[in-house]
Subunit: 100 residues, 2 copies
């Protein structure tokens, strides 16, 4: 970024970065949509075979793995864990709705 | 899922779904890592040119677009908006740390 010397160049670079962010957000939305398709099927399966909605062992493994992946990708593992916790919380709410 | 009649089949399908969820989570982590690289550069740019950390117009556009994308992909738009809000909040915190 050392070559950016004036506000016009800064605004142009900002637009370019925002286009990348928009592309990445589209990936996030579509990946979340696909993930929800999977967890909805997990939810139906758990409800049909009366398995518990939450699974602490599986969740602990997921968190440990995601923290490793985040660390290797240069992403703050705390942040990755918080986002996953938020998603899992929402998934459990969905599962409880299916069950009830 | 109508063909799943016994607990063994259910467990096998559950493992398969969990492998897909793990793959999708790896996509999420790597996409978030790339998104953070972009927003960190936006943060440096905003700090260097003294632009405000938050940008309500841009954020409103992002939310509207993501809700459309979520709806088209069969994902609950409320959920997509909550996840994005969580990510943006974290990004603003990062920007404020860079500035201070």
């Amino acid at each position: 970024m050392s070559e950016i010397a004036n506000p016009d160049d800064a605004r142009e670079l900002l637009s370019e970065l925002r286009r990348s962010i928009d592309n990445l957000d589209a990936i996030l939305v579509h990946t979340l949509a696909e993930r929800f398709k999977c967890t909805q099927e997990v939810g139906r399966l758990k409800a049909a075979f009366d398995l518990p909605a939450a699974d602490p062992t599986r969740e602990a493994e997921q968190v440990a793995r995601l923290r490793r992946l985040a660390h290797d990708a240069g992403l703050d593992p705390e942040f990755a864990e918080k986002v996953l916790a938020f998603i899992i919380q929402e998934v459990i709410r969905h599962h409880e709705r299916i069950r009830s």
